[in-house]
């Protein structure tokens, strides 16, 4: 078995569209999961009755079930109760729900470390709880939680490969389809290895850089 660059170049358009799907799904799911996290962490910190317990249950449920089964449940199971989503949006929804649980925990940790002094100061200024959260708590918490939030994002990019299991043609989906039809393994496996390592390592390196920048005021 030899590595043929020609073959790889011929497959490039398909692979590129697969890579774009991977990036689109990941970007949408990261953005939406942060929204989920903001709402979830807000509910937890404000101790909203009932909703707070629901968020706790949601986080525990997501953490203790396999992402693949969550994905199957969204894609195959939800249509039975009248919620039919396309392949693409099923993937986005499953990844959002999954990462949303981790973003909730990340942000909750950040909010918890903001400290009661600021909350009291906010109340003294006449801010209500929602105003405190929006104007004081969250801006500070996001800064504290940003590294862990972005790490969750990096994991999401990696785990977006799961969507190929329901048939979405992302990078993994395209590469393994080609492998099956052309009986050439070596080139496609190289693409996957290089592709994901590049994505993940670039992202985690930028996270580290950002972490370094954010810590600048606290150094020395």
């Amino acid at each position: 078995m030899e590595f043929e660059l020609d073959y790889l170049l011929r497959q490039w358009p398909a692979l590129r569209s697969g890579l774009m799907v991977t990036i689109e799904v990941s970007a949408l799911a990261i953005a939406l999961s942060i929204l989920v996290g903001l709402v979830g962490a807000g509910i937890r910190v404000m101790h909203v009755p009932v909703l707070s317990q629901i968020v706790v249950a949601y986080v525990e449920f997501i953490r203790n079930t396999p992402l693949l089964v969550q994905l199957f449940f969204v894609f195959f199971g939800l249509p039975a109760i009248g919620l039919t989503l396309s392949l693409f949006w099923s993937g986005v929804l499953a990844l959002t729900l999954w990462a949303g649980a981790f973003q909730t925990e990340n942000l909750r940790g950040g909010l918890a470390s903001v400290g009661p002094g600021l909350r009291e100061a906010g109340r003294a200024l006449g801010l209500n709880r929602l105003q405190y959260l929006w104007l004081i708590g969250l801006p500070l918490a996001v800064r504290i939680s940003l590294p862990s939030m972005l790490n969750t994002g990096v994991s999401l990019v990696k785990n977006s490969a799961y969507v190929s299991a329901i048939g979405l043609q992302d990078l993994t989906g395209v590469a393994f389809d080609r492998m099956a039809s052309d009986f050439r393994a070596f080139e496609m496996l190289t693409v996957l290895l290089v592709g994901y390592l590049t994505l993940v390592l670039t992202l985690s390196a930028s996270v580290r850089l950002l972490e370094h920048r954010l810590h600048a005021p606290f150094r020395r």
């Binding site: 203790n64 693949l68 449940f73 039975a80 990696k158 993994t172 996957l192 290895l193």
Partner: protein, 237 residues
């Protein structure tokens, strides 16, 4: 809804078969990742930087490549190397290589959490390098890493569901088969109930393991153990 529940009850044998395969797969993976993880994690604490660098590379690669890609690569790639693998060993191998990377990180953390004085004292007593590990470092590290390894087991149980994609009839696949059969033969699609049930069973198993891991950690802290080693984040799955 009631139909789905009846279907699950009717097919309990198939589901039990699947559950057994899931447990077998998790067990084999746990053993292999522990052995390989202890080996790699120990080597990650030696003085030679070349060795440490190689281990760090291994850990990084297997944690950054999607697990689904690792398993597909082994299952579909093995025939090209002239050693076709059955689904079960292929998945067990893929999961173990990934589990070993996580196990190595835990073991490395567990050994490094032991105060330096222990190693120095052992050396001052004239103990051989391997005896320092065997008699001094490993027994103490064992306490440190237990909670994290229990957490890892929960992750392993979750990741065995990937076996369904290459043809291991584990728990998720068993659920899929029930849905397929009912859709073809009775024209009813019970995917919501069956996959819901599958989710609940995984949830039960993994929450017990996670709770046990937390309990071990609390107990360790209460007894004034060295800093505990944190379980690998589920987000790294």
């Amino acid at each position: 809804m009631t139909h789905g529940m009846a279907l699950i009850a009717e097919n309990w044998q198939l589901l039990l078969l699947g559950l057994r395969a899931t447990i077998n797969l998790a067990f084999v993976t746990l053993i292999a990742s522990t052995i390989l993880g202890v080996l790699l994690g120990t080597l990650a604490t030696v003085r030679a930087w070349q060795v440490r660098w190689l281990i760090a590379l291994y850990v990084e690669v297997f944690r950054d490549i999607p697990l689904i890609v690792t398993i597909f690569t082994i299952f579909f790639g093995a025939p090209y190397l002239g050693v076709p693998l059955e689904p079960f060993p292929a998945v067990a191998l893929g999961l173990s290589l990934w589990g070993a990377a996580n196990g190595a990180e835990i073991v490395r953390g567990g050994i490094q959490a032991i105060p330096d004085g222990q190693r120095e004292a052992a050396r001052a007593l004239g103990l051989h390098a391997w005896k320092i590990y065997l008699l001094v470092l490993w027994p103490q590290a064992l306490r440190n890493v237990l909670p994290a390894f229990t957490g890892l087991l929960a992750l392993i149980v979750q990741s065995t569901s990937l076996g369904s994609l290459v043809g291991v009839t584990e728990f998720l696949k068993a659920g899929g088969l029930i849905i397929e059969r009912s859709t073809v033969m009775q024209g009813i699609n019970p995917a919501f109930e069956v996959y819901g049930f599958v989710l609940l069973v995984y949830f039960t198993i993994c929450s017990v393991l996670t709770a046990f891991s937390r309990w071990l950690e609390l107990r360790l802290v209460a007894r004034g153990g060295a800093q505990t080693v944190r379980a690998p984040d589920t987000a790294r799955l």
